[in-house]
């Protein structure tokens, strides 16, 4: 079994970080993982993409043309990647910035207004964690406990931020249920 998740948005939205957290959680669950960033001059242009591959077998190609799932944090990303998602996959849409949907009827679309939710939690910066949690809750690519563990490890140097992020995880899980 292999899962591929494409994360996409613009710089500053914490795209690379949530990809890494997911990869880390999957690794802790014993899976093989690869986290592949896009890098380069886009940095300056403002886009940020990464792909996470999770598998119970050694991973062949880390370069994925048709990912199973997509987490789209802004509109250009949704437009760019939605058509490539595999049938039956999940497309997560950041409802706060994206007013359209994927136009696909063969996927599971999950729209969450993460920016507003993050603001409610008191820190706009947790929007990415809400998105990740919602996606994980819906897809089950990793368990919630592994996800939380991975987030805690990521913020190990900034203990203060952990409770807030745990709240964000819970908010994400709730949102995934609601939609």
């Amino acid at each position: 079994m292999q899962n591929e998740v494409q994360f996409a948005g613009f710089g500053g939205q914490g795209i690379m970080l949530i990809g890494k957290i997911l990869a880390h959680a999957a690794m802790e669950e014993g899976f093989e993982v690869s986290w592949v960033p896009s890098y380069g001059p886009e940095m300056r242009g403002g886009t940020a993409y990464c792909t996470v591959v999770i598998s119970d077998q050694p991973i062949g190609s880390p370069v994925i043309k048709n990912p199973r799932h997509l987490v789209a944090m802004n509109r250009p990303s949704l437009e760019k990647f939605a058509p490539a998602v595999q049938k039956g996959g999940i497309i997560f849409i950041n409802g706060s910035l994206i007013s359209v949907n994927s136009g696909r009827d063969d996927v599971d679309e999950l729209v969450v207004p993460v920016v507003e939710m993050a603001k409610e939690l008191g820190n706009v910066k947790t929007a990415n964690i809400i998105a990740l949690a919602a996606f994980v809750a819906r897809s089950g690519v990793v368990g919630i406990e592994a996800l939380k563990g991975s987030i805690k490890e990521e913020f190990a140097q900034k203990q203060k931020l952990i409770p807030m992020n745990m709240q964000a995880v819970d908010a994400g899980i709730q949102a995934a249920k609601k939609d």
């Binding site: 613009f10 500053g12 403002g46 802004n74 509109r75 910035l97």
Partner: protein, 72 residues
């Protein structure tokens, strides 16, 4: 002489440098993000503007222009 002042949203990246240099405190940044992900500048108090072009000179993205108003 009348002037036409414009900030081109295609160019403005919301850096805020124009805001800080305007001698008349005319400029502010929008509070809503643009489709490009920026909060562009706009003349919050155009009536105070003296068309000194200080903001134009400072703008790294040549987003601000001031033209003479053409007689219609």
């Amino acid at each position: 002489m009348a002037y036409v002042y414009s900030i081109d949203i295609e160019y403005c990246k919301g850096c805020g440098l124009c805001v800080t240099v305007c001698p008349k405190k005319v400029l502010e940044l929008e509070s809503k993000v643009s489709s490009k992900g920026y909060f562009p500048a706009y003349r919050a108090r155009p009536e105070d503007c003296i068309y000194c072009a200080t903001c134009c000179r400072m703008c790294p993205d040549v987003a601000i222009t001031i033209a003479e108003e053409k007689a219609a």
